[in-house]
């Protein structure tokens, strides 16, 4: 089960967040901060799956943007990894060359 879907930039600012379970708003910022910290501290050659508290984070880096998905243990990690790529490809098609600009300003109007 996917718990949440985040797009975060390298400075740690959330560009897009989508929660599929109700999480209190103040907890969200804390959660995002910790998740981002975990992902940013990873090197390039480390695997994309991080174990965090009681769920797993699957993340993928695209230029300056991190896409992080939180899943629980029943989910196939590899499938989610591919899903992230699928999502980015769809965005690419839609905006015909996805740029930071499009993520920041236009993703809301999807």
């Amino acid at each position: 089960m996917i718990k949440f879907f985040l797009m975060v930039n390298k400075q740690g600012q959330t560009r897009l967040s989508r929660y599929y379970e109700h999480v209190e708003i103040n907890k969200r910022t804390m959660l995002e901060a910790e998740v981002i910290k975990n992902c940013l501290s990873r090197l390039k050659d480390q695997c994309s799956f991080i174990e965090y508290k009681d769920f797993k984070l699957v993340y993928r880096q695209y230029a300056a943007l991190f896409v992080v998905v939180g899943i629980n243990e029943t989910e196939n990690e590899m499938a989610v990894y591919e899903l992230i790529h699928n999502f980015v490809e769809v965005l690419d098609k839609y905006f015909s060359r996805v740029v930071r600009h499009s993520i920041y300003y236009e993703i809301f109007l999807l």
Partner: protein
């Protein structure tokens, strides 16, 4: 009036839209909060306008702010207004905002019901679509109940776009309103054969998710799923089907498992998608685990899986390594032998740079330890611990080492001295948060393994002597917790102590007062036990001078504890101080007092099982539901009562004061000790062991071989655990030689009768005899208690409600 309108529209020209807001926030990096609160004020103004476009803009901005972490629940009503806009773009904004911020606790949700219903039956498919998508995020039981029918009809809509969304949202509806499952299910089943692949995969997803929770109701769908699996080429769908349907269904239907192995192995061989491969391997493992016996190519399939997993682990892509290790740990539970052969690979993974992989490898090791390789594995882990300074990984390692060693009641430890020396080495770690874990282990081993107590006590005494090195880190759960264990063990088993005087002085040092309160309390308590045993020793050997000296020392040093800020320490120290002053008076009068002091600590306490309290039978004649006193009546007489209660207490309190003489003190201590002895939860702080009237035998000196390892802190006198590894190897070698000699003799006698497997020179687990006779005291339970375990089932589990039989 006209002027107002003009003014209004001019104002509107300067409204920020979302892009401006985002840009503005980016430009105001320093005073972001101020800027945002300014924007929120502007938004509030905009929301007061009648113009729906303005409102929509405001809500759009609010949604963005919510994502940044600002609460927008105050705007709930405005969001609903925007949801009811006729123009699609505004409606979309409203639903998006609702899906982000509405939840079950939002009280205005019920106002949305009609609006959603209107949108669901709208001729415009996009309106319906956006309503469905938004609804899925904030559906409540009431909404689900009211809208279930509408959504069910939408499942048969002409447009696949709508059908897909309707099918998906049905899952949420089922969760919130389980009664809708039965009427909706036939239609859902139809969708599995829908011509549109999107709708089909949506249906597969929903049914798989339902089947995962309550598999027995969906067994009749198995043939359908089988057909889908063999015919579909969509990887996502395949993954779902394989994982959810078959992973959940096969345990119930073994024949299905047998049929499955064939196509699954085909997939494993043919697919190029790693995710699918991983899923297949996982399911094969799950299937084979559930099949108990009778499969001819059972082991062949497992071998195939292990082989594929090995390829994954050896791959340079970290992700695949991770997955390989993850799947291996699943196989490990049921087929440990097949995994054992890959131990070298896993030990290699322990050295990987990637933390996730190391953690997975650690997990695997946990299941792969045996008596033979435990020492070797722990040695390797200790090297890692030294390398991994200052990270959370080190803490993880520590917990893992302890977990591995203490599994199944210390099943794999053959030499407890080695284990204690490992624990002592672990205390040299700085900055760990698991001090209490090490302390708990030390206590556990010392209590349960009688043979090791002598050694443990000598180690603990050394720890106490070097307490100044450890006491610098006084954080909660820090390594200073070990001193807690050390003090208790020394006090409890003080008859094994060589230099009781020295240890007592170590415990009385002023630096001890910097330790956390609970540790000081244990120190104080155990000081008395030590003191008692020293006193007894001195009196038996007739050294009255020395005995009085010790008493004097205690009286001098105890006041520093009496002044402690911690209540427990203060209380214990003052009680003990009084007691010792009394003893001093008796000593001056030359009365032999040691016997009575020892009697204070008579009795031995055994470890208690964790469920013992629950299993205590309720005594007959006790009705826990009956009122003890009459339930209070709601009358005015209550007001008068409190005054009299306090008055009574005051009088009683005054009576108590004069009785504070020593006899009363001693009596109360006795009573408290009795209480504590009977209370199973009071084990660690205040036990009462039985003193044995034996002289402590001399400790055998183990030759200390200085092995040059780079360790951060070298405390003199502490043994290195490596020497035990060598000792152990030597011992085992000797044992093996002896056994071989015996086997050869036996073989000559029984030649030709049995074909024994003993001709193979592999040692089995049982051959290795432990170095010490381990007498692990089992845990106490109340009489006739069964060691059964009852899982706490969550009564509010929504999936339980979905457990209905769909075939009827």
């Amino acid at each position: 009036m006209a002027l107002k309108m003009v003014k209004g529209s001019i104002d509107r020209m300067f409204d920020k839209n979302l892009q401006d807001l985002v840009r503005g926030i980016r430009n105001h990096k320093e005073d972001e909060a101020k800027y945002i609160s300014q924007c929120i004020d502007e938004i509030k103004q905009e929301l007061k306008q009648d113009n729906i476009a303005v409102k929509a803009n405001a809500v759009c901005k609010l949604t963005y702010l919510q994502m940044l972490g600002y609460d927008i629940s105050w705007a709930a009503f405005n969001i609903i207004e925007v949801m009811s806009a006729s123009k699609f773009t505004f409606k979309r904004i409203g639903y998006l905002a609702a899906s982000q911020c509405f939840h079950e606790g939002t009280d205005v949700i019920m106002l949305t019901t009609n609006q959603i219903r209107k949108d669901l039956s709208s001729p415009n498919q996009y309106d319906t679509g956006v309503a469905l998508t938004g609804l899925s995020c904030f559906v409540t039981p009431d909404l689900a109940r009211d809208l279930a029918n509408d959504i069910m009809t939408l499942m048969s809509h002409t447009k696949p776009y709508i059908r897909k969304k309707a099918v998906l949202i049905m899952y949420k509806v089922f969760l919130k309103y389980p009664e809708s499952l039965r009427p909706a299910f036939p239609r859902l089943k139809e969708k599995l054969e829908d011509p549109d692949p999107g709708v089909q995969s949506a249906a597969v997803n929903v049914i798989c998710e339902l089947a995962r929770r309550n598999p027995k109701n969906y067994l009749s769908l198995a043939p359908l799923f089988f057909k889908l699996m063999t015919s579909s080429t969509n990887n996502w769908v395949l993954i779902k089907i394989i994982k959810l349907a078959f992973g959940a269904l096969t345990p119930l239907e073994p024949r299905l498992g047998k049929k499955l192995i064939e196509p699954l192995t085909n997939l494993i061989h043919s697919t190029s998608a790693m995710s699918l491969l991983y899923e297949c391997v996982n399911t094969v493992i799950a299937v084979l685990i559930s099949l108990s016996s009778g499969m001819p190519n059972h082991s062949a399939s497992i071998q195939l899986c292990v082989q594929k997993l090995r390829i994954l682990i050896e791959d340079s892509d970290q992700n695949l390594k991770y997955l390989g290790l993850l799947a291996m740990s699943k196989i490990l539970k049921t087929h440990p032998k097949s995994v054992q052969s890959h131990k070298d690979l896993i030990l290699q993974c322990l050295d990987d740079k990637d933390e996730s992989i190391r953690l997975r490898a650690l997990d695997l090791l946990y299941g792969m330890v045996s008596k033979k390789n435990l020492m070797e594995i722990v040695k390797k882990l200790m090297i890692h611990v030294d390398k991994a300074e200052g990270t959370t990984y080190r803490d993880e390692l520590l917990t893992k080492i302890i977990d591995i060693c203490s599994q199944s009641n210390y099943q794999y430890i053959t030499n407890f001295e080695w284990y204690i020396s490992i624990l002592v080495e672990l205390t040299r770690l700085e900055g760990t948060r698991h001090g209490h874990l090490i302390a708990a282990q030390m206590l556990d081993v010392a209590i349960r393994v009688k043979a090791i107590r002598k050694f443990a006590v000598s180690q603990m005494a050394m720890l106490l002597d070097n307490a100044h090195l450890i006491a610098s880190n006084t954080q909660r759960n820090g390594i200073c917790e070990v001193l807690y264990a050390a003090a208790w063990i020394c006090g409890e088993f003080s008859e094994h102590l060589e230099e009781a005087n020295q240890t007592l002085e170590a415990m009385l040092r002023p630096k001890v007062t910097t330790l956390p309160g609970h540790i000081q309390a244990v120190y104080v308590q155990n000081m008395v036990k030590l003191y008692a045993s020293i006193l007894q020793q001195k009196e038996q050997s007739g050294e009255k001078e020395a005995a009085q000296e010790i008493t004097q020392l205690m009286i001098e040093r105890l006041p520093q504890f009496v002044q402690s800020a911690d209540l427990e320490v203060q209380e214990r120290a003052s009680c003990i101080l009084q007691l010792i002053k009394y003893i001093q008076k008796l000593q001056i009068k030359e009365v032999p007092v040691a016997e009575e002091v020892i009697a204070l600590f008579a009795g031995e306490l055994n470890p208690v099982a964790p469920k013992a309290q629950k299993k205590v039978p309720v005594p007959e004649g006790l009705d826990l539901d009956a009122w003890i006193n009459e339930p209070p009546s709601d009358s005015e007489s209550e007001d008068e009562k409190p005054k009299t209660i306090f008055h009574d207490e005051e009088q009683r309190h005054r009576h108590r004061q004069p009785e504070m003489d020593e006899e009363e003190l001693a009596r109360r201590r006795e009573a408290r000790k009795q209480e504590q002895a009977n209370n199973p939860f009071y084990i660690k702080s205040s036990p009462s062991p039985q003193k044995r009237y034996q002289d402590a035998p001399g400790v055998e000196h183990i030759p200390v071989v200085q092995i040059d390892l780079s360790v951060p802190l070298k405390v003199p006198g502490m043994p290195m655990s490596d020497q035990y590894v060598k000792l152990e190897e030597e011992r085992r070698h000797k044992q093996k030689l002896e056994k071989d000699r015996k086997k050869k003799k036996q073989k000559k006698e029984k030649r030709g009768k049995h074909h024994r497997h003993n001709s193979l020179h592999t040692e089995s687990e049982e051959d290795i005899a432990p170095a010490h006779h381990v007498d692990i005291i089992t845990e106490e339970m109340p009489e006739n208690a069964l060691p059964s375990d009852e899982d706490d089932k969550d009564p509010n589990d929504p999936y339980k409600a979905l457990d209905i039989d769909l075939d009827k």
